[in-house]
Amino acid sequence: MKFDSVIIGGGLSGLTCGIALAKAGKKVAIVAAGQSTLHFSSGSFDLLGYDAAGNVVDNPLEAIGQLETSHPYSKIGAENIEQLATEAETILNESGLKVKGHVRKNHFRITPMGIMKPTWLTLDDYFTSETAQALPYKKIIVANIAGFMDFPVEFVAEGLRKTGAEVETKILSIPALKERRLSPSEMRSANISKILSTEETLQEIADKINSCSSDAEVVLMPAIIGLNNSQNVAILRSKVQKPMYVIATLPPSVPGVRMQKLLRGYFEKSGGLFMLGNKATGAVIENNKVVALTTSALTDDNLIADNYILATGSFQSEGLKSNYVKVYEPIFDLDVDADSQRTEWIDENVYKAQPYMAYGVRTDSQFKTQKEENTIDNLYAVGSVLSGHNSIRQADGTGVSLITAMAVAKNILNK
């Protein structure tokens, strides 16, 4: 099958890059070996949360100028980031993901452990704060669903209390979930969400919340509404008398699943072909150009394209692999930036910077990859598979995904 561009990987970077290309009229296919890390989403997109010393970044755009030259942002140039960030934000909004936040000013999200982390954009139904020290509300109720263990409600409440707010926790016993609670292994966000998806169940939740929140200024609950229907959160909010926001849970992330669906939907609506469960297995490379991609499902039917984009993610997504002797990129065997000695990959303190986190494929300023030190002219890399950034240390993972996706789409369109 022939395309203008074939993207390997159907997560945040692959999809947004695909959307940008498809919107420009290109024929684009995405092959995705499985579902993506969007399923672990916090509900936010981080551009740059911490500087190299670990200090909270207030204005990401300013701080990007201080990054090391190996960082993907540095290849794009600090001066170009704002434009790309705007484009990414536009794509998110057009996909149906309403976000809040500004590229020149980080805000704070509240984690499932009640910790404030700086971020760039957050889904508009999430609870956020302009500063880490004070919240916009003083009297808060955090309500969890009875039997839902993936939202440690006391941790969240305690975190909020640190800002001086008065926080009460409530456990909502929703009759519709009575049967679900019988499952010892599947009382999980996604399954709860599937049940809490009808008008009646949303009304039930709202009634419970309304009956216990008369003193509160705001009600917070775990992000478990709206797996299949993005309207459900809005419906619930309309039924709750007080302002209501959600806070991220442990995976799977319900809003993350929704993001995946909405982005895929927008990609397909823009004319793209999304092939889930199809794993890229190898490629034919001639004269430093990829001429064909082989996949697990389409045997004897190679994918042919002018340009290929590697958006396969890091180790946890199998974009990078490692074994006893090396770190490698499994589809093309591209050159990677990684230490050769296994003992150098890790630090024995899990809370220190783990070198492996910054490993990835080596690219030039255009994000063209290389193999055996030769640049591959039509194979680009985007997102977490890129080397040179540690998203745990700097809170820049989703930002790198979005910004490099936009940059590569532009590079290809300008070719």
Binding site: Q316, E348, I392
Partner: protein, 536 residues
């Protein structure tokens, strides 16, 4: 510390919460002695919690150390009865590979039989049929009554029974000093390692059962017990590769025992002499990993391509007798020292040497000595009295369709029914890999000296599975925080420590799926949740 404990005058204080210490406490309590056990951290934090979990048949020592071999097989048969819920009876193979001397096999079998160990030579083809994972190039095989034993369950069963017989147990109480007056040990000075509070406890006899740390306790008493710290490293594989223990039929060497235990397989060990100052922080080196893998793949080739979950190391508490740097020619023999006759220090006994397999016998010997000193004439009954959880057999019919029930029976034996299970919330799984329920956590908190995640792991296996705590650690932290009425900041610091402790076992084998798992774990805990090193 409980004020009653300070006021009491005990018959006996036992120092050390390993298998030997808790076994001695149980034995003493069963013989009617008023007993206090003190442990500086948690149970099983020394060699008890850091070995193969092998229910030795004794065959391994048959050729070189008949006495140990005989002790092993006798204890082996006893433990199958009194600790049946901690034991898996699957037998073991001693295999001869083409590069080994097959003549050794005859000598081996002869020595086993002489020590009273059943040893059947079987056809290599039969061996392959019995244990499909075995190296197919084997040229000889002997079947012996090896098995596996869960040292965590074993220890906690002893603790439970000691308490049922009236013993007092203090964990997180470290002996800082022995109280000595007029050539007699009168008791111990203790520091509460959680609060820093100091206290004293007094008894007629103090038993030093502190494993490798016993050398330091002896030093406090002004006597010398030369110990021989021999570090042994082991690797845990992701699932049960073999269903029988696999050993090499040759003179004992590195990494020649492969033990299936619960849902995993363990290969070990290496053996290296280490300085006593280092025994509190054992790390597995890349060289040790290499040896374990290379040698392990000789026993079962599948190990070369099987995921490794973690690496760990323990220190054998051997009593030094010569300068063999490998530590292997030393007998694992039991050493029970009466310091009154040996050093002129009354009221002080050291029980050391031995091995997990002979913990009960060691306890019996030490208790016999204590009783003799106290003029108590009561016979030891631990060889015939089942531990709590092991009273009947079969323990309980397996139940279909009741989640975690079979896993729970495996961990608690007849005590499975005591695990809290009053509603669906109690039955919810916190750790799916190891099938640990909310109710089991509550039970551990109420009955098994648990207030931290690491303690909980030792009691329930929470976080010991494939993912090493990827989702369950935070769930468990939430349940613990609520059940123990801990503060959130304390719980968060505990979680931070727990994750670093998990990492300590993962990084030496940080490649392949384990590295991917580590990344996912970091992304969830540090990225999504914002966990950091709160305790520092």
């Amino acid at each position: 510390m409980n004020a009653n404990i300070a006021k009491k005058h005990y018959d006996v204080i036992i120092i050390g919460g390993g298998a030997t210490g808790v076994g001695t406490a149980r034995d003493c309590a069963m013989r009617g002695l008023s007993t206090l056990l003190v442990e500086r951290y948690d149970f099983t934090t020394g060699a008890t919690g850091r070995n193969h979990g092998l229910l030795h048949s004794g065959a391994r020592y048959a050729v070189t150390d008949k006495e140990s071999a005989t002790e092993c097989i006798e204890e082996n048969m006893i433990l199958r009865k009194v600790a049946r819920h901690c034991v898996e009876e699957h037998d073991g193979l001693f295999i001869t590979l083409p590069e080994d001397d097959l003549a050794y096999q005859a000598k081996f079998v002869e020595s086993c039989l002489a020590a009273g160990i059943r040893a059947d030579i079987i056809d290599p083809e039969e061996a392959k049929r019995l244990e499909p994972s075995v190296n197919p190039t084997l040229i000889g095989a002997v079947r012996v009554p090896d098995g596996s034993i869960d040292p965590f369950r074993l220890t906690i069963a002893n603790v439970t029974d000691a308490k049922l017989h009236g013993a007092d147990i203090l964990t997180y109480h470290e002996v800082t000093e022995l109280i000595i007056e007029n050539g007699r040990v009168l008791g111990v000075k203790l520091r509460d390692n959680k609060t820093g509070e100091m206290s004293e406890a007094r008894a007629e006899i103090t038993v030093n059962a502190a494993g490798i740390w016993g050398t330091l306790i002896a030093k406090m008493a002004g006597v010398t017990v030369n110990m021989f710290p021999a570090k042994g490293s082991l690797l845990v594989f992701g699932h049960r590769v073999n269903n029988m223990v696999i050993n090499r039929c040759r003179k004992p060497a590195n990494a020649d025992i492969l033990v299936p235990g619960d849902v995993i397989t363990v290969i070990g060990t290496t053996s290296d002499r280490v300085p006593i100052e280092t025994v509190d922080d054992m790390r597995v080196t890349p060289e040790e990993v290499e040896v374990l893998l290379t040698e392990g793949a000789q026993l079962a080739p599948a190990l070369a391509t099987t995921r490794i979950l973690r690496a760990y190391a323990g220190v054998r508490p051997l009593v030094a007798s010569d300068n063999d740097p490998s530590g292997r020619s030393i007998s694992r023999g039991i050493v029970c020292l009466d310091h009154e006759t040996r050093d002129g220090l009354a009221g002080f006994v050291t029980i050391t040497g031995g091995k997990l397999m002979t913990y009960r016998l060691m306890a019996e010997i030490a208790t016999d000595m204590v009783c003799k000193k106290l003029n108590v004439d009561k016979k030891c009954e631990t060889a015939t009295t089942p531990l709590p959880g092991a009273e009947t057999s079969p323990i309980e019919e397996p139940k279909s369709h009741v989640y975690a029930f079979n896993a729970r029976v495996g961990r608690h034996g007849t005590y499975a029914s005591k695990v809290v299970s009053k509603d669906e919330i109690d039955n919810a799984l916190v750790c799916q890999c190891e099938e640990v329920t909310v109710g089991e956590i509550k039970y551990a908190v109420e009955n098994q000296h648990v207030s931290t995640l690491t303690q909980l792991r030792r009691r329930t296996r929470v976080g010991m599975g494939t993912c090493q705590g990827e989702l369950c650690a935070l769930r468990a932290a939430g349940v613990l925080c609520e059940t123990c009425k801990k503060s959130v900041s304390e719980s968060a610091a505990d979680l931070a420590d727990f994750m670093n402790e998990r990492w300590k076992g993962m990084y030496p084998v940080g490649w392949g799926s384990t590295l991917s798992e580590a990344q996912l774990m970091s992304n969830i805990y540090q990225g999504l949740c914002g966990l950091d090193n709160f305790s520092k």
